[in-house]
């Protein structure tokens, strides 16, 4: 009986899909009471023997739950450019990963209205033994593009990546800059409604950096909703019109980007001054 109950509970949990589309049309992203917990234990039990023995002996250590995000709620209107501020370890990247669909939040709900393009890891999908050409298709597939679309855009990608003849060589022979250039050229191909960016990606040499930041600006300009994590306050001031500031998994402040940025900078400077005084 208890097992059946458990299964029912689990089913309900996963069927209450965190992505459904019942929000107003002008809202692009709605985050409702999202919490994220990671189970961390100092001695991780990942063998069955240990698991069985410990269950019998009843000395399974309770797994420590670390709360990365704690009851976060916010709305992003369509066309808004939202900057996310916070010190290292505040939970910014975890939030972006949840928005990108990589993690499912432990509690809470996320509703997304439109096509999302996460620019998080650009060369994660590369197969080293594949040629650049094959990798365009493989990586495109990982980014949910189909063959016709890639066929059509193929020349554009090759041209933008500046790889020339190297496109026919295996990626394992590429320099890291070349790899980044190719990854960037593929990932920025989509025409998204919502763009999720973790640090503005300017990759490659000085020429390509200029080109890539232009491309990012172009992507951001056309009424696209942007969620941007960056440690460069100037960039956030320049690009974003709204900001949230996260600390220890909670929203400290929310509002127009200049206000939040000012408060954040003052706070950061205050912190360093305090530390100096203590010394």
């Amino acid at each position: 009986m208890s097992i059946i109950g458990k299964i029912k509970k689990l089913l309900n949990r996963s069927s209450s899909d965190s992505y459904n589309n019942q929000i107003e049309d002008n809202v692009a992203v709605r985050v409702e009471h999202v919490s994220m917990e990671f189970k961390i234990s100092k001695d991780k039990i990942d063998t069955l023997k240990e698991y069985v023995i410990r269950t019998i002996k009843r000395n399974k250590k309770e797994k420590e739950k670390i709360r990365i995000l704690n009851d976060i709620s916010f709305d992003v209107q369509k066309g808004d450019k939202l900057g996310i501020l916070g010190f290292n370890g505040a939970g910014k990247s975890t939030l972006l990963k949840i928005l990108a669909g990589i993690y499912e939040p432990t509690h809470g709900k996320i509703t997304i209205n439109g096509k999302v393009a996460p620019l998080l890891e650009l060369s994660a999908g590369f197969d080293k033994n594949y040629t650049g050409k094959n990798n365009i298709y493989l990586n495109g597939a990982f980014l949910s593009m189909d063959k016709d679309f890639l066929d059509e855009k193929f020349d554009e990608i090759v041209e933008f990546s500046e790889l020339g003849d190297f496109i026919n060589y295996p990626v394992k022979n590429y320099s890291s800059g070349m790899r980044a250039k190719l990854g960037f050229s593929i990932a920025t191909l989509i025409e998204p409604d919502i763009l999720i960016v973790d640090e503005i990606l300017s990759v490659g040499d000085i020429k390509f950096r200029k080109k890539s930041s232009e491309k990012i600006n172009e992507l951001m300009s056309e009424g696209v909703t942007v969620l941007l994590v960056s440690h460069s306050i100037n960039q956030i001031r320049k690009i974003c019109n709204k900001c949230i500031w996260i600390e220890n998994g909670q929203i400290v402040m929310e509002g127009p980007s200049d206000e939040v940025c000012d408060a954040y900078v003052t706070n950061a400077e205050g912190d360093t001054k305090k530390k100096r005084r203590r010394k």
Binding site: I7, T47, G101, I102, V116, E121, G125, Y137, S144, M145
Partner: protein
Amino acid sequence: MFDTISEKKFLLKELVKKNLTSKYKDSVLGILWSFFNPLLTMLVFTAIFSMLFGHNIQNYPVYYLAGRLAFDFYNHGTKGAMNSIRKNAGLLKKIYVPKRMFAVSSICYEFVNFLISFAILFGVMIITGAPFHVTLIFTIIPIVFLVVLVFGVGLILAVCNTYFTDIGYLYNVFTLVLLYASAMFYPIEIVPAQVQILFTLNPVYCAMSCFRQCVYGTIPDISMLLYLGTFALTTLGIGLLLFHIYDKRLVLEL
């Protein structure tokens, strides 16, 4: 992301292609090994066992190959699916890809391999002068059930192996037991009658022997097929249920 079927299909195709090219990447013969591997082991087994069982089995090479193809598909398919999530951990933690695609793609890849090695079976049948029976058409039935079974077991194992790595090691031993319990390279008649009943409970044995019956020109055993069918569908159900429940939490275990 991945809303349309064409996107999913393209991803699946690319993943299967990736498996295919990465397996034989540094070998000279490449994909040809999919032919040579079963062929060479067939020669070894024929050399050894046709002396032992030759008088019991008519056309030992065909007998061996028919069993071997079915078993290899089961063995590699389930193991491929089992390891697929862990093998792609780096990718799954960085970008969103439906996890089941990895399990499904590795089974599809093994199925392609299975179809390729059919050429060997036909080749050997021609060389040894084995007759081609009409019943060969019926091989589709046990093959479909076998595919369903592999999907079911594969999905279950993929979830379990992500939570506990040693399911993998345990399963390696288990498939060895399964190999001997499937009468792949010896005739079932050498096993005592009471034990034979146990064999018929083994779905892989059922699939294999129905497959063989078709190749040898007899109508496959209906009761065996029914048992195999229900067993396969049940495991598929369990596998899909497990994957549905744990799908989104698998990443946290990697």
